[in-house]
């Protein structure tokens, strides 16, 4: 795409570059790879929340199936309360980590801008990076949570009973696996997105000159 700029003598052109989303994703994932040790705490935090939510929901399902347990209002309120607290903790840790990370990365933001990135590109690079971390955390937590649930069931019931349970309740188990994955990923990504949007917006809109602290 090109923009024509009329001058008194002739017409000149400045080409417009639209960075593809794929380019920005690849930059964001390079950043995650190179800074993984900085993000490890936040990944562990998100994983723990995912594990907790998964275990609570897993045992609720087992109680319903095995003991014909009726989930009443107080248990629902308790489950919701625990989930909200967990997500609140994730939000606080994401906000604080990102405020710190952004302050530390001001120069980096200036370098992107000097290299030709628009503020929207910088915003997207950082937001994709955050969502990527959220995704890694939630998937890791999901896998670990399922393994923990399985190990605990085998410990309680033995291998044969556990296998028999899964064979008898294939539909419920599959539905549990799919619905929890489909709920947890967008839910945690939303929390991470909302928590990170303020620091990233502030940083991406800063004047290049202020981020680089170039002297006179």
């Amino acid at each position: 795409m090109e923009t024509k700029v009329e001058t008194s003598s002739s017409t000149f052109m400045i080409e417009k570059n639209k960075q593809s989303l794929l380019t920005l994703i690849s930059i964001a994932f390079s950043n995650i790879r190179s800074r993984i040790n900085r993000y490890i705490i936040i990944i562990i935090g998100i994983s723990l929340v995912t594990i907790l939510v998964l275990i609570i929901r897993g045992y609720s399902l087992i109680l319903v199936i095995v003991e014909n347990f009726q989930i009443n209002e107080s248990i629902l309120i308790y489950n919701t309360f625990v989930t909200v607290i967990c997500l609140g903790l994730v939000s606080i840790s994401v906000i604080s980590t990102f405020f710190l990370a952004i302050t530390e990365r001001m120069e980096e933001i200036g370098l992107y801008r000097t290299s030709g990135a628009r503020s929207l590109d910088v915003f997207l690079i950082f937001e994709i990076e955050t969502l990527g971390i959220g995704l890694i955390g939630v998937i890791l937590g999901y896998i670990i949570g399922l393994i923990l649930l399985l190990v605990d069931l085998i410990r309680r019931w033995g291998v044969d009973v556990t296998v028999g349970f899964f064979e008898r309740h294939q539909i419920e188990v599959m539905s549990f696996l799919v619905t929890n994955l489909a709920l947890l990923i967008p839910f945690i990504l939303c929390v991470v997105f909302i928590a990170s949007i303020i620091p990233i917006t502030i940083a991406s809109r800063m004047k290049v000159i202020n981020t680089l602290e170039l002297r006179i």
Binding site: S10, Q19, S26, G116, K207, I209
Partner: protein, 237 residues
């Protein structure tokens, strides 16, 4: 023919105490492709400010900067980003590399922002790295490199998108003689291929090669050497 024209540029900074600090006053300057222009001047005289205005990083208080006739002082932020991406290479005095990325990833950033394919990027990075003698350092991070190597990585990053103009702030101030020779040779070759250079430096090496040498003092620019002949028909190199 690419050209940058600085017309009556003035820059005033507002100090926190409310006073005004005039950094640049009535600056007039033209840079053509293949031209090497040196700006000298004491520390704090406004050399970096002038480079920042030419790169579109800050706007002048008065006056205009034209790139091929387009007034970049009037461009929107998005257009300025495109101008920098396609036409300007900026070399900082203190390298300013991405600390967590290795040399290859650092050099690649502008090419990635330009959405060049992986194979083209790889080819360009390797060409520049060989040219600058840093092929063996491509997998190292900045904290594993010497000052000279960091400066060459920063130069490769500034050159990867084949800019029309390179703006360099003291490019050889923190490097040894061998690296300096290497940097000067690379810039000379790029210049022969059409790159216009505006360098803020006190390095006599560059002064000898320069078409024009200016001194920035008391916020005004004075020419002290002019070797250019017949700009329209080509520049003396």
């Amino acid at each position: 023919m690419n050209r940058l024209d600085v017309k009556d540029v003035e820059k005033i900074f507002h100090e926190p105490d409310g006073s005004k600090l005039q950094i640049l006053s009535n600056i007039i300057l033209t840079i053509h492709e293949k031209e090497l222009i040196i700006i000298k001047g004491p520390s704090g005289s406004g050399k970096t400010t002038l480079l920042n205005i030419l790169a579109g990083l800050i706007r002048p208080t008065a006056g205009s900067v034209y790139f091929n006739g387009i007034d970049i002082s009037q461009l929107k932020l998005k257009q300025l980003a495109t101008y920098r991406l396609n036409h300007i290479g900026y070399l900082f005095q203190h390298w300013n590399l991405f600390p967590f990325l290795n040399a290859r990833e650092n050099i690649e950033i502008p090419a990635r922002l330009k959405s060049l394919t992986h194979s083209i990027r790889k080819k360009k990075v390797e060409e520049l790295a060989t040219f600058l003698g840093i092929s063996d350092r491509l997998n190292n991070r900045p904290d594993e490199m010497s000052g000279g190597q960091k400066q060459r990585v920063a130069l490769a990053r500034a050159l990867i998108n084949n800019p029309s103009f390179l703006l360099a702030d003291e490019p050889t101030s923190n490097v040894d003689t061998q690296t300096r020779t290497n940097i000067v040779n690379v810039l000379q070759e790029k210049r022969e291929n059409g790159l216009g250079l505006l360098i803020a430096t006190h390095d006599p090496f560059f002064e000898e090669l320069a078409d024009k040498v200016y001194i920035l003092e008391k916020s005004t620019l004075k020419i002290i050497k002019n070797d250019s002949i017949n700009i329209a028909g080509g520049v003396k190199s």
